[in-house]
């Protein structure tokens, strides 16, 4: 007999009726934005987990014995540094490949005539960010003209791009949630004005403000659950589609896949949205009702 129908016919107005759709669309955008932020964070984490390699170039010396001794001292000093996994001298074959673009294929006897530097790869443990200044100071204490260079020049740019994407995605997600709050406040205030006679009746029957506000809150929450779940499902399908589907055709549009924690965090977005929507509706209704006596 008794129904859980709201006392206020809030589904009867266009603004309220479309609230669920609006929420769905905005939750879709918020989830996508957060997915971008989380994928960017994932990329950053993966980059930071990759061991970093620094190349030390020691200038050529006339006396091979002196060169060998310098190399041994530099290697010993570097291997003493914290975070260094190992050091390796770049082989002559690799050196040949490096100079090939400038000198072509160089015969072994000709190479001896070239003042080629001795190259030393220094590999750091995963997650360690090399302190290039300290490293250079240490090397140059032994070989003053030594050059230090971090291998993979694109890495810095990659990191920077991922960081930007992370902030952009996070910021866009927050912005969409803020828009959601504003939309709910505006719709609630409009509904309150539209249903002023019914609100007046409820208050005449003794309904306190919190009872009337609860009507708006419940309606907003129901719209959030309906619209939010649709928006979330659509966003999830989009993320899965972008990340996994291209691999079926051998493509890789997104270089990282969401981690289990990312899925959990994404699932929190509609929950957070529903919470914000409910609070925003309550806030708008309570403030709107305060104008009435």
């Amino acid at each position: 007999m008794a129904t859980a129908e709201l006392d206020l016919p809030l589904d009867d107005t266009p603004a309220s009726r479309f609230l669920a759709w609006l929420i769905g669309g905005l939750v879709f955008l918020a989830v996508l934005a957060c997915a971008v932020a989380l994928l960017a964070q994932g990329a950053l984490d993966r980059l930071s987990e990759r061991p970093r390699i620094v190349t030390v170039a020691l200038p050529a010396v006339d006396d091979p014995a002196v060169g060998e001794a310098e190399l041994a001292r530099v290697r010993a000093a570097l291997e003493d540094m914290s975070g260094v996994a190992w050091t390796a001298v770049v082989s002559e074959e690799e050196l040949d490949k490096l100079i090939e673009p400038w000198f072509g294929v160089v015969a072994p006897e000709a190479r001896a005539e070239l003042p080629l530097p001795r190259l030393l790869d220094v590999r750091f443990q995963p997650g360690v960010v090399p302190d290039l200044t300290a490293l250079a100071r240490k090397v140059r204490a032994i070989v003053p003209n030594a050059l230090i260079d971090e291998t993979g020049p694109a890495r810095g740019a990659l990191e920077e791009a991922a960081q930007r994407l992370r902030w952009l995605g996070g910021g866009a997600g927050l912005l969409v949630l803020a828009v959601l709050v504003v939309v709910v406040v505006v719709v609630t205030r409009a509904s309150l004005d539209l249903h002023d006679e019914t609100v007046d009746l409820l208050r005449l029957l003794g309904a306190p403000d919190r009872y009337v506000a609860r009507q708006f809150e419940l309606h907003a929450m129901a719209s959030a659950l309906r619209g939010g779940s649709v928006g979330f499902a659509a966003a999830l399908a989009t993320v899965v589609g972008l990340v996994h589907l291209p691999t079926l055709w051998g493509l890789r549009l997104v270089p990282v896949v969401p981690r289990p924690l990312d899925w959990i965090l994404l699932a929190m977005v509609p929950v957070l949205a529903a919470l914000l929507i409910t609070l925003a509706a309550r806030f708008a209704a309570v403030h709107g009702l305060a104008r009435l006596r």
Binding site: D7, P9, L201, R203, L204, L205, G206, D209, Y211
Partner: protein
Amino acid sequence: MSTGSGMAVDGDRSGATILQLHGVGMRYGSADEVLRDIDLTINAGTFHYLVGPSGAGKTSLLRLMSLSVAPSRGRIVLFGRDVAMVERDELGRLRRRIGVVFQDFRLLEHLSAFDNVALPLRIGGADEEQISSYVSQMLAWLGLAERMEAKPAELSMGQRQLVTVARAVVTRPALLLADEPTSNVEPARVERLMFLFGELHKLGTAVVLATHSRELLRRWAFPVLHLDRGRLIRPVPAGRAAAE
């Protein structure tokens, strides 16, 4: 009950004071006052008709008494509280002790007859079992057992009026204000409604019933409050009021 003249009238059982109006005036916007210098005391367990020609201010007086509008001057004391001084939440509690039968029904069109009647009980926080029992009994007693799930638009005018009455009395209010509650109801049901109001009155509810019906005044004799051009004139016995 007593008016500004200080006269005691029939039907005054001198119960606790429910409502007092002191020098009350009321106007809509910047128009002339529709009510002037109203002094009135309503005690528990009293029954009064409110009569007067159209435009005399009956509905306005009932709206004032139900705290639907504020007076432009004067003071209203309801259940011992000056309503101008009470907090918002307290105002709700005071209103919950008043039952109002609106002349224009004011039913919620999207709710069934049952849910319309259940509204004040839900607002008061009654549990659903209690609501189901009270509302079903009330509607059945008023002859609407078969129409509980009907929406107001599916009901006749008389049935709507009965639903409005049921909503007003289902909480057994301390003060019942009824604006022409029998105007659309068929004669057989008028008897039943008046019996209901009489029973509430016997249980201690103060009843103020605005009417144009001489039939009511003649058949159920209670004191009459006469409004004329916004002024409350001294009470007259029901028999004489009917004759007038």
